[in-house]
């Protein structure tokens, strides 16, 4: 069942209950009122009749008259005022009556001067009998009025019917209105649903229309916030996937070049007759390319398996720098590059081996960019470690890309110096794993400063 149907159903049930109850109460009260009014008017009529009759009888008769005279007198006086529905009875003797029934049998009066009434059905007609007993000149008389109130009941019934009809019309109108209004009120939900389906189909730019200020509007707003989040997540995933693809593409490309030489040279050695020295050259190429592949796989493995979560321990930066200096000294001496280190007493949370690898990568890059005789400095202060060179620098537009795997500013020059294009990607990964920022500042021809900023250490 749809929401609008449910809401409509609940509303209709509520409306039916309310209308039914109200109608019942109204009908009961109205019926009561009408009957009471009829009764009151009957009672007034009876009182008037009785008063007039009593007055006349006491005026014209006296106690000395015999019973027959008294009876005649009473009959005469009563007839003067009686209507078609009046009855006068005295001691079971009906003195005057225009009606076909005997009211004294239906409503026997016992007490004097007390008006009584009866309402009931007789022979398919509704009747109202009002009576009172009076003592006039030591004789008891019962004065009745008998009214046929069938028409009152008829009009009550008619009223009930009319009420029913009006209620029915109201209910039909109400149901129509409720259905229409609930559909109108739930329309934003429907459009929200459409939007959701669009998004589910992959149209992540779709947004719900926020036209109302109510819960549905809020829902639409929340929905849009969610859609925004989904879209950005999806985009991120897509970018990630693209980056992965690009990365894998780069890896295959990087592997293809050395593989081409290995395959080419080995095939040449296998099938071609050539002098010893040229064979030697071919073999050397194969050997070098294989060693290169081995280095490449090592670095790749390191890059791929480096986890975000690493074991961080407090370590002295000075110790780190001297370790880097020790391991780089020989290489740098061969390249005639001077390595200077300066550090303060600060301690940083780090993985010593990984940080060493990061700094070695940076120093190696700095050395590759420098000419023989130039110096490379590692300086540390508080939570910052800087590697500074005075070499060729990095073009400004390339800086944002240098930490991408296999990105090389000068490909052939880098290859000549044995670079894989993975060093800075690895450095960035290590910095990320430490929660540290790595920033490059460079001026072409004047040198580069790489700044590794650790999160503030307490």
């Amino acid at each position: 069942m749809r929401l609008w149907q449910k809401i409509s159903l609940i509303c209709v049930i509520a409306m039916l209950l309310i209308v039914g109850t109200c109608n019942t109460i109204l009908i009961v009260v109205s019926k009561d009122n009408i009957l009471k009014l009829t009764q009151n008017s009957a009672m007034t009529e009876q009182s008037n009749l009785q008063a007039s009759f009593s007055g006349m009888v006491t005026y014209y008769s006296d106690d000395n008259m015999d019973d027959a005279a008294k009876r005649s007198m009473a009959k005469y006086c009563f007839a003067r005022f009686a209507g078609s529905e009046s009855v006068l009875v005295s001691d079971n003797d009906t003195i005057y009556s225009n009606v076909s029934l005997s009211p004294e049998k239906i409503l026997p009066l016992t007490s004097i001067n007390k008006q009584e009434h009866y309402m009931g059905e007789m022979d398919g007609r509704n009747i109202l009998i009002t009576g009172e007993k009076v003592t006039l000149l030591s004789k008891e008389y019962s004065v009745y009025t008998v009214q046929d109130i069938t028409s009152v009941y008829d009009s009550i019934n008619k009223m009930i019917w009319e009420f029913g009809l009006v209620s029915f019309a109201c209910i039909v109108l109400g149901i129509t209105l409720i259905v229409f209004l609930t559909r109108f009120a739930t329309r934003p939900l429907k459009s929200l649903g459409n939007t959701a389906r669009c998004i589910a189909k992959g149209d992540y730019d779709e947004r719900a229309e926020v036209s109302t200020n109510d819960e549905v509007g809020e829902l639409a707003q929340d929905f849009n916030v969610m859609a925004e989040a989904v879209q950005s997540n999806i985009n991120e995933l897509k970018e990630n996937a693209e980056r992965q693809l690009l990365f894998i593409g780069s890896i295959t490309h990087e592997f293809k070049t050395p593989l081409t030489s290995v395959i080419g040279h080995s095939e040449t050695l296998l099938y071609t007759k050539m002098p010893e020295d040229i064979m030697q050259k071919s073999l050397t190429h194969i050997h070098e390319q294989c060693k290169w592949l081995e280095r490449l796989t090592q670095k790749l493995l390191r890059l791929i398996t480096l986890q975000e979560q690493i074991d961080l321990e407090e370590g002295l930066v000075c110790e780190l720098l001297s370790a880097v200096k020790n391991s780089m000294e020989e290489t740098l001496r061969q390249r005639e590059i001077i390595l200077q280190t300066a550090c303060d007493n600060s301690q940083l949370l780090m993985d010593f081996d990984l940080m060493q690898s990061l700094l070695i990568n940076l120093v190696d890059n700095a050395a590759k960019a420098s000419k023989p005789g130039q110096s490379v400095q590692i300086t540390s202060y508080r939570n910052v470690i800087e590697v500074i060179d005075h070499g060729i620098g990095i073009p400004k537009e390339e800086i944002s890309r240098i930490t991408e795997p296999f990105y090389m500013v000068d490909r052939s020059r880098n290859k000549l110096k044995g670079g894989s294009g993975l060093g800075l990607a690895l450095a960035k990964r290590i910095a990320d794993a430490h929660g540290a920022q790595i920033a490059f500042e460079s001026i072409l021809g004047q040198g580069t400063t790489v700044k590794v900023t650790f999160p503030v250490y307490k």
């Binding site: 095939e267 071609t272 050259k281």
Partner: protein, 221 residues
């Protein structure tokens, strides 16, 4: 007739080295350049090449950009590249390249493709020479020291293939496929029989070497 001259533009020394070795022993002349811009400059001085092998990703102008210069001097191009995506391939071939070879490749395949391109361009020598042997491809005649030698058609084709890829071991099954065709039902013994005939008729007992378990090689060194 002079041998075909081939321009090799490749920045990886290890790769250009083995290409050079193979071109040399197959009897081509070659020039190796490792930079796009340098290539363009070099062509202004010397552009008498029968074809060019271009790497796409090289320093300076890339292989696709060099195409313009190659067209200018009417040099057919084969691309040699690690870029295996279809769009690069289409770009290369649309640009006017004769062929597109994806690294890594087999040397023999490269040599065959070079030969096919030269043949299409009509730049292939019609007369093959090795030592004192001369083979006329158009008239199907073979002479050694000026003396005509009568060879059966299949023997002739076999000799041509051995001479074309001289100094290079050609596997038996390869010879069988190239000359008898892939549908040939006979075994590699057929090759051995024909080789024996050539050795006898041409007196090539020394030069036409059997390489155990692989195939045959004609040496002129």
């Amino acid at each position: 007739m002079a041998s075909n001259r081939i321009l090799v533009v490749e920045d990886d020394k290890a790769i250009s080295d083995f290409i050079a070795i193979n071109l040399q022993y197959t009897g081509y002349e070659y020039v190796v350049i490792s930079d796009g811009n340098e290539t363009a400059l070099y062509l202004e001085q010397d552009h008498s090449f029968d074809m060019a092998l271009l790497d796409v990703m090289i320093p300076g102008m890339d292989g696709f950009e060099l195409m313009e210069y190659m067209k200018k001097y009417n040099i057919p191009v084969i691309y040699l590249t690690a870029k295996s995506d279809v769009s690069s391939k289409i770009q290369g071939l649309r640009g006017g390249a004769e062929d597109y070879i994806i690294k890594p490749f087999e040397v023999l395949e490269l040599l065959v493709r070079i030969e096919k391109v030269l043949d299409r361009m009509g730049k292939l020598n019609k007369i093959l020479r090795i030592k004192d042997i001369s083979i006329d491809l158009e008239n199907h005649t073979v002479t050694r020291s000026g003396k005509d030698i009568a060879l059966k058609p299949l023997e002739f084709d076999l000799l041509v293939m051995l001479v074309k890829y001289k100094n290079r071991t050609i596997p038996r099954d390869r010879l069988l496929n190239e000359i008898w065709g892939v549908d040939f039902f006979g075994g590699t013994r057929t090759v051995d029989v024909h080789i024996a005939q050539i050795r006898k008729k041409m007196n090539l007992h020394e030069e036409l070497k059997s390489i155990p378990k692989i195939g045959y090689r004609l040496e002129d060194l």
